[in-house]
């Protein structure tokens, strides 16, 4: 049998305390307590320390899950990748502490715009990614634009009395309906659109043109003619 007291947990506990995580209330070294510690560590390792957003590792899992779901259900899903424009200049001019404040403010703004079912992640220094399940093709551009606007409206206080405005560029791609693609491929397609947004002058959103569904409205109308007649 496992004797939990013989495990070296000091570093784990220190990490959790430092992150301000709540330690489990169960009897120390009991099974429930250990499970609680592991859950807290999992939670910690799936989040970005600076913003509290989902981190890259965890986001890749979410993305892979979404690829599977879309392949199975055929529902549309949108992946957006975005990047703070000229972020290096912010760091160079105002310092890294200011840069961190900007990243935190942008993260907060992104989180406010999306639905609870969407996953917002910080995937790199000033790079973010959002996966939006069940996002119909017609809404993609609207969502991306709303995100862009919300960030542009921010006045980020980087020192008392000193505020900063930043913009973001966004790229987006829908998961190919019915095709069990890979999250890597999906990410690449969204990235390509982000490069396009940057090249076209930044502070804008570019979305990959959605391929029309395989089945046209006319075909659908004819398909359901019989079932509709029946239920009438």
């Amino acid at each position: 049998m496992l004797d939990a007291r013989r495990l070296r947990l000091d570093l784990a506990l220190q990490l959790l305390q430092q992150a301000g995580a709540l330690l489990p209330e169960a009897e120390p070294y009991s099974e429930a307590w250990l499970q609680g510690i592991m859950d807290a560590l999992c939670d910690l390792s799936s989040k970005d320390a600076l913003t509290g957003l989902v981190n890259r590792r965890s986001f890749e899992m979410a993305l892979a899950r979404e690829v599977d779901r879309v392949a199975r259900s055929g529902e549309p899903a949108l992946l957006l990748v975005l990047d703070i424009d000229h972020f290096k200049a912010v760091n160079d001019t105002y310092g890294h502490a200011a840069g961190d404040l900007v990243i935190q403010a942008v993260a907060g703004a992104l989180n406010q715009v999306v639905r609870p079912m969407d996953t917002v992640a910080r995937v790199g220094g000033e790079e973010f990614a959002i996966v939006l399940p069940k996002c119909a093709a017609g809404f993609g551009a609207t969502v991306a634009e709303r995100l862009r606007e919300r960030v542009a409206e921010l006045r980020i206080e980087i020192a008392s009395g000193q505020t900063l405005a930043v913009t973001v560029s966004l790229g987006g791609a829908f998961a190919p309906q019915w095709v069990r693609s890979s999250s890597l491929l999906w990410m690449e397609r969204a990235d390509r659109q982000l490069y396009r947004a940057k090249a076209e002058g930044r502070n804008r959103a570019c979305l990959e043109n959605q391929v029309d569904s395989l089945v046209s409205a006319e075909e659908k109308g004819m398909l359901f003619a019989v079932t509709q007649q029946e239920s009438e």
Partner: protein, 279 residues
């Protein structure tokens, strides 16, 4: 009654990839091949495949069901099997084909995808070659190979269908299922140049609904998919399984209706399907 070949009694174990002459893949070279697909998931594709395999086995056929849903396989769930060795192990050469072909309840054999196949859910040339090789190896030893494909119309699904001579599309009367079945058939007609596809309507609400749906699909296909002059596209209704309590019971208990409810309407419908296929 069981006609499942004993894996140990067949050809000597040879790891996949070992050089050996590929058998001819002409129609007389071995098993008849049938892909079971659906477009939409959750319409009973695996249920139909497993029970069809049992019905063919009842008719004295040696049947292998190949779990071609590499990403989200659930044949093992439907059959309540807990395989130790799977297609994954054959791919990675941890097991021979003979070790991974397992007897299933219902008197047929299965080659399960198993978990860990997610890495193969993209169709790379490697995956393609391995699957083709496996099919070539097993063809001489069976009368039928049924491919239980994944949901959707991914490249892996289309590829596994392309390995089969015949296709059975499973659809339910649900609009979403009909749309996806239609999309699948359309892709098969336009990309694989198929002129004939079989249809099974599952979860039919009443007798005759299958015929109605098949006619409707055929009409839309005729109009929008069309065929080159002198050729025609034929969607043949191969079966209709009515939605009933027995099926739900069997699925929940992870049993084959052919084995546990042989007298049920569903079992009769699947037997009729097997008879049609055997001609």
């Amino acid at each position: 009654m069981s006609t499942t070949p004993d894996p140990a009694a067949s050809s000597p174990a040879s790891p996949l990839g070992a050089a050996r002459p590929a058998p001819k893949t002409g129609s007389r070279a071995g098993a008849r091949t049938l892909a079971v697909t659906s477009g939409k998931g959750g319409v009973g594709k695996t249920f139909v495949t497993a029970n069809l395999a049992a019905a063919l086995a009842l008719r004295g056929q040696r049947v292998l069901v190949l779990d071609a849903d590499l990403g989200l396989a659930n044949l093992d769930v439907v059959l309540n099997l807990h395989p130790k060795l799977t297609l994954h192990d054959v791919f990675t050469e941890k097991a021979t084909l003979d070790q991974a072909i397992l007897p299933a309840p219902g008197g047929f054999s299965v080659l399960l995808a198993g978990s860990g196949m997610v890495e193969y859910s993209r169709l790379t040339p490697e995956v393609r070659d391995k699957l083709l090789h496996i099919v070539e190896m097993v063809r001489p030893r069976f009368d039928w190979i049924l491919f239980d494909t994944g949901a959707g119309i991914s490249d892996v699904v289309l590829f596994s269908i392309s390995m089969a001579a015949d296709v059975l599309v499973v659809a339910t009367p649900e609009p979403t299922s009909l749309t996806d079945a239609y999309a699948t058939i359309k892709v098969l007609a336009t990309q694989q140049d198929r002129r004939e596809v079989g249809l099974l309507v599952n979860q039919a609400n009443r007798v005759g609904e299958g015929k109605l749906i098949c006619g409707q699909l055929q009409q839309v296909l005729q109009r929008f998919v069309g065929a080159r002059p002198g050729q025609s596209f034929k969607l043949e209704l191969l079966g209709e399984v009515k939605s009933d309590q027995t099926v739900r019971q069997a699925v929940l208990k992870r049993q084959l209706v052919l084995e546990h409810y042989p007298g049920s309407d569903a079992a009769q419908a699947i037997k009729a399907l097997a008879n049609k296929l055997l001609g």
